[in-house]
Amino acid sequence: MRDVAIIGVGMIPFGRRDEDTLMDLLAWASLKALDDAGLGDKSVDAVYVANMGGGMIQRQTAIASSLVDRLSLLPAAAETIENGPASGASALKNGLLAVASGYYDTVLVVGGEKMREVTGWRATDFVATMTHPQAEYPYGITLPGMAGMFTRLYMEKYGVTREMLLAISLKNQEMGTLNPYAHVEMALDRAGIFDSRDAIVNNPTSADPLHLYDLCPVSDGAAAVVICPLDMAKKLTSKPPVLIAGFGQATDTHTLQEREDPTDLKAVTLAAQQAFERAKMKPSDIHVAELHDAFTILEIAESEHIGFFPKGQGGKAAVEGKTRLGGQLPINLSGGLKARGHPVGATGVAQVVDIVWQLRHELPKTRQVKNAQNGLTINFGGFGNNVLCFILRRVQD
């Protein structure tokens, strides 16, 4: 197997993009990544497109075939990958395996979603189609609802408090104000959403015990990366290549009720373990992480299941500032899904793009982890029933 490097990345600002089509988003992010890789006027061998909702929301299928045509990448191999909210990381995994195996040299991976085209009512239903079609979906369960039930159990078992969830909301939205690609560029006022009498109006219950500001927004957006064999990377770009040092993927039961301990995110633990093993690293080797905080509880739970903090200590670490810039392990300096937004097919790729910027040391001081060498991502599909982890490493000059 060959070592595989990321040589180009690109993202377009996430948010509500009424004037743009899904294909616009995918094409523009792709062009940015191709330009960044020094392939702006060249082709690639293959294209993997991550998208979850094109068929349901835009009534458009075979999106990858359409994208290679629009980008004049013909006759590159092309396919669309759908794996729920983990589609982005799944697409990158497929690209990684294709390059590592030697079948392809240059691969474009792009993830995109346009969810604001429909009402919140419809978007919530679209995301809920991931739940079990007989045992869950008919009841009106939503992903925030699943997270609410999970949070109640996690609070009971590990003593997580609303104060701890608040620490995640405040940190990630503060980081969103510093990220020009973020959907939500508004810092939160603690009193306004937590301490004051107005808090219940400003921050109403969404799926108790979770409130509005515990949830990520529904977003439009796209992100892309270009990968190639490491030994080819330096010939193509002058930027420091970033090695995909390890990846892992694991699945868990479809329904929460069939998990022996529903607070145990087994797929997160297993995916991270595989990635650490392949990268020959351990949690303490990671300098920066992008975790899948679709709900604030998930940043805490994932940080514990990966092994960054002992079980029951992730929330305390967040309150103590250990996951802020300058802390023991900065998490979601992009603002995470909470502030950057969560266009479901784009998220797994966007997380990798943010880590690449960190490892190239290209971010402004307000978001850059000094001398970051190793980064980690977790892309969480369904309610933890399909999880991917990547570990990236800056290649030394």
Binding site: H132, G140, G148, M149, T205, Q257, P262
Partner: protein, 117 residues
């Protein structure tokens, strides 16, 4: 009262109880199962009140929980109380089979849970 139309499956090889159905046992990969009907009342394992509902639900909120029947079958259901009614994990609920949503103008039936008062 309508019969609760949930069927769980007990692996003939190792005894693990499944709901919903799996073609192979999650524990031992056995393929033969005995059908098990849920029995008795339900212990509430977790719940949430959802205020941002999906398309198809024209109401202000829904209360949804996961419970365990007395014979170990676990299932999701709607909890039929108003939002102010205090609920607690571990409380006992009475199960029933009632409309849980309307699709194409017709009722869809499912598990409803009501706290024992």
């Amino acid at each position: 009262m309508k019969k609760i139309a949930i069927t769980a499956y007990k692996c003939k090889q190792c005894g693990k109880l499944h709901y919903p159905f799996h073609d192979r046992c999650l524990q031992c990969k056995g393929r033969e199962f005995d059908k098990v009907e849920p029995q008795g009342n339900v212990k509430l394992l977790t719940f949430t009140r959802i205020y941002n509902l999906p398309w198809g639900f024209d109401q202000r909120y829904l209360i949804i929980g996961v419970g365990e029947f007395e014979n170990g079958v676990r299932a999701m259901g709607q909890i039929g109380v108003d939002e102010a009614t205090p609920l607690q994990v571990g409380m006992t609920m009475i199960p029933s089979w009632e409309p849980v949503r309307v699709q194409n103008g017709e009722n869809v039936f499912g598990l409803k849970l009501t706290p024992i008062t």
